[in-house]
Symmetry: C2
Subunit: 232 residues, 2 copies
């Protein structure tokens, strides 16, 4: 997922099937990105591979959140049709171990061989048809992401190295689909000593330039383990 301007976006892959004879569009919908796990591959590694193939990025934040294995999850007529068209056994059982990842999409081009991939704002996705049980998976991903973000500052995965407090605030507002008071938000951030105020400021903006901040992973890890020590 990605944060551009005011939206949280998800990468979706277009699924199109055209009748070779009539030219009629039989299928035209979207799927989440995924692939089969190789026989000798870690589950995490498979998720990383899918992401790498899409984005060219290594070392991306990745979190397993859910495994779905309903025996009927491939049974919708559209999905059966699709599986046959790509020469997969339509009655095979598929278990999906689902991961979400956070990507700052600026300067990233997503591509997939023979397929169209696109960033879609998550709030718009429900209006479109997602293949298989991918709508359910996306819903679970959002719940897991919110839950994680409540307790850990993974938000920095979505931000550039240097960010402004308004960017950070907007991120939380988008993910939790709410609004926060600017002063209160900043007071809270102030208490987090792993968010470092830099000397640098924005340039070229036609308003008071914002101060940049950065996230210090070391300080965060240190005070995180402090908390753990006290509670155990």
């Amino acid at each position: 997922m990605d944060l551009t301007f005011r939206d949280l976006n998800v990468i979706l892959v277009q699924r199109e099937l055209t009748d070779p004879i009539s030219g009629e569009k039989l299928i035209n919908d979207l799927t989440l990105a995924g692939n089969h796990v190789y026989m000798d591959e870690q589950l995490d590694a498979a998720a990383r591979r899918v992401l790498f193939d899409l984005t060219g990025l290594h070392d991306i934040f990745l979190e397993q959140f859910y495994t779905t294995g309903d025996p009927d999850r491939l049974s919708k007529p559209m999905d059966q049709l699709w599986l046959k068209s790509i020469n997969k056994n339509p009655s095979e059982r598929v278990v999906s171990v689902c991961y979400y990842s956070l990507i700052n999409s600026i300067n990233i081009t997503i591509t997939k061989k023979d397929r169209v991939v696109l960033w879609v704002p998550v709030q718009d996705v429900k209006n479109q048809e997602l293949a298989f049980d991918h709508a359910k998976i996306l819903e679970n991903a959002l719940l897991a992401l919110r839950n994680k973000l409540k307790h850990e500052p993974i938000s920095f995965e979505l931000l550039p190295e240097k960010f402004t407090l308004s960017q950070l605030q907007r991120l939380y507002e988008v993910v939790f689909n709410t609004e926060y008071d600017k002063r209160n938000f900043r007071k809270k951030i102030n208490k987090m000593n792993y968010i470092i105020k830099l000397e640098e400021k924005q340039v070229g903006v036609s308003h008071k330039p914002a101060t940049y901040f950065s996230f210090d992973r070391n300080i965060y890890e240190a005070c995180k383990s402090e908390i753990l020590n006290f509670s155990s």
Copy 2:
């Protein structure tokens, strides 16, 4: 998992292998309970089946928390030996979709055909050897349980229908491995209007008898959805 007196317990299955010739004990350790998923079975249903076979109980609280699929997870010599002895292919890849469940063990007998099963206090488990990557799985289960219990009153799964506030407090203390102030704990509980004070009191105890309380699922669901409505 279960709460007896002062401990959080986990069901473990004994794994024993004796050399048929020398009589020497080749393996004597413990595993978590589990089984393969049938080809046409929901993942949840498989977990329920495992639990039913152990306890005879239906309708138990069940929560998927983690899926493990390291290609090397069966590779320890002890585990290889075991797999051969039960005629499983030791080089097969096994992916485990892991669930935890909460059981009030009073009046429950756990049994398993041809195997010894036992309740073990979780804090004692690390001293024993767990098979495969089950120690890791148990650790993840505890983290997931704590996380869940912070936000939802699943504790009632572990308690009898009627319980005292001291029992409830002890449960939280055991799961979070800490201690709470009695007065503060009771104040917090007081605010939860889904915890109902009953007329009934303990009898036959050689101290001031405690009042029984019960958990009202309907009231909880109602105020839970209220919260959700406001925040979305």
